[in-house]
Amino acid sequence: MAIDVQGIRRDFPILERRAGEKPLLYLDSAATSHKPAPVIEAVASFYRESNANVHRALYRLAAEATELYEAARGKVATLLGARSEEIVFVRGTTEALNLAAHTVGEARLGAGDTVVVTEMEHHANLVPWQQTARRHGARLEAVPVTDSGELGLSAYERLLSSGAKVVALAHASNLLGTINPIPELAQAAHRAGALLVVDAAQTVPHMPVSVRELGADMLAFSGHKMLGPTGIGVLWARGDLLEELPPFMTGGEMIGEVWLDKATWADPPRRFEAGTPPFAQAVGLGVAVDYLAELGLVDVRAHDVELVERVLEGLSRREHVTVYGPREPSARAGLVSFNVAGVHPHDVATLLDQEGIAIRAGHHCAQPLVRRLGVPATCRASFYVYNTTEEVDAFLWALDEAWRLLK
């Protein structure tokens, strides 16, 4: 069933504000999503009514806070079809991937091993692996991106057979929108004896994601891109893998026993949650998960596809516009990157901003990919549950105006 966009919009207080004299037309949800009132309220009421440090004290309030924190973990687990013990709360995708790269490096990487990434990675799923490979004397290899914006699968197979121990790649590219065929890629990685780490920052918020169906070993995403607060994110990993991995950060909460000269570690997930965790934010994320589950992620996905189809159709009719990534709406996440002939992306974004339209222009934290495309930067419009087909049309109209003024 189609989601009720007008009803949804009433849940997002920020959509009532104006951008200058114009209503805010927000097309940058791939960077961060807005928050519905129930999420804002959940965080505020946690601070008002339930605030206490989790896992530490014996009094009732602390027990209640801990219960709420752990309930949020349970909701995330259910969302992913995973077990609670497999859910590690972190600050966001970036921290999750740094944790993955560091610990997998310690446990699995040695001199001469290969780490496989791709040319379409966000810097968050590239730089940590560069650092890990360097530390352990491993080689870093990147799967190339084809001209149609997909991964070169024959190159992938070839790189796997060169001693790959770990593959790190995006479920969907935040620039091209390409959704990568994770189940096949995972099978191939496992045949080669490699782990598969998935950056799902652009998919978990937008479509049903089951970690078991994907066949991944680790998966990362951020709360703030899925209607939740900033400062909370998730690393999921297979239970037996988490058992095997050493800690990332050390300190309070993550220990078993501590002596002056040594320490033992807690079991996962706490082994990976050093220090006071962002518990209020976790509670907010739990409510965001409830909100998305209520809408139904199948329908959330269908809405994205509808908007992307309309944008792709509109842009492809404009000869001065180049679109990057797959042509088929169902092959991409809810975002479209493009350029306007002879006009710098920042000029497009600034002129659209004059109409209250927020799009992103730049390298989208994927400099190697932008270089591969042979452009200095791109524009990107991205969509979520509160965006309407009328907004897509207003965006296309504004793009024509910008073209008229700058061509």
């Binding site: 920042h346 002129l351 700058l406």
Partner: protein
Amino acid sequence: MKGYGEVILEHWRRPRNRGRLRAPDREAVQANPLCGDVVRLQLFFEDGCVRDVRFDGEGCAISQAAASLLTEKVKGKATAQLAELGEREFLGELGEVTATRAGCALLALWALQRALKEGPR
């Protein structure tokens, strides 16, 4: 949509002093790593004053228009006068730019300041 002001559009469409000098006395390249804008500014002095100037580079309309405008402003000026050219005054002449784009608008001016600081080639 009001678009950009006349000064920016004019200089962007018909850039002044675009190109390279054969033997510049001073030169600096200033880049904005966030957006990839680049401006190279070259100066040739005679009797202590800027006799000739060129810029080239790549980037948005604002950064390139600002570089073009700057080349017009520096011509004939002595080093001391160049050092007095302030950001506020320059932005005022360029016309309205939003705070998010000030870095683009000032790229060429920063190149000038670098060229002066780094001294003769």
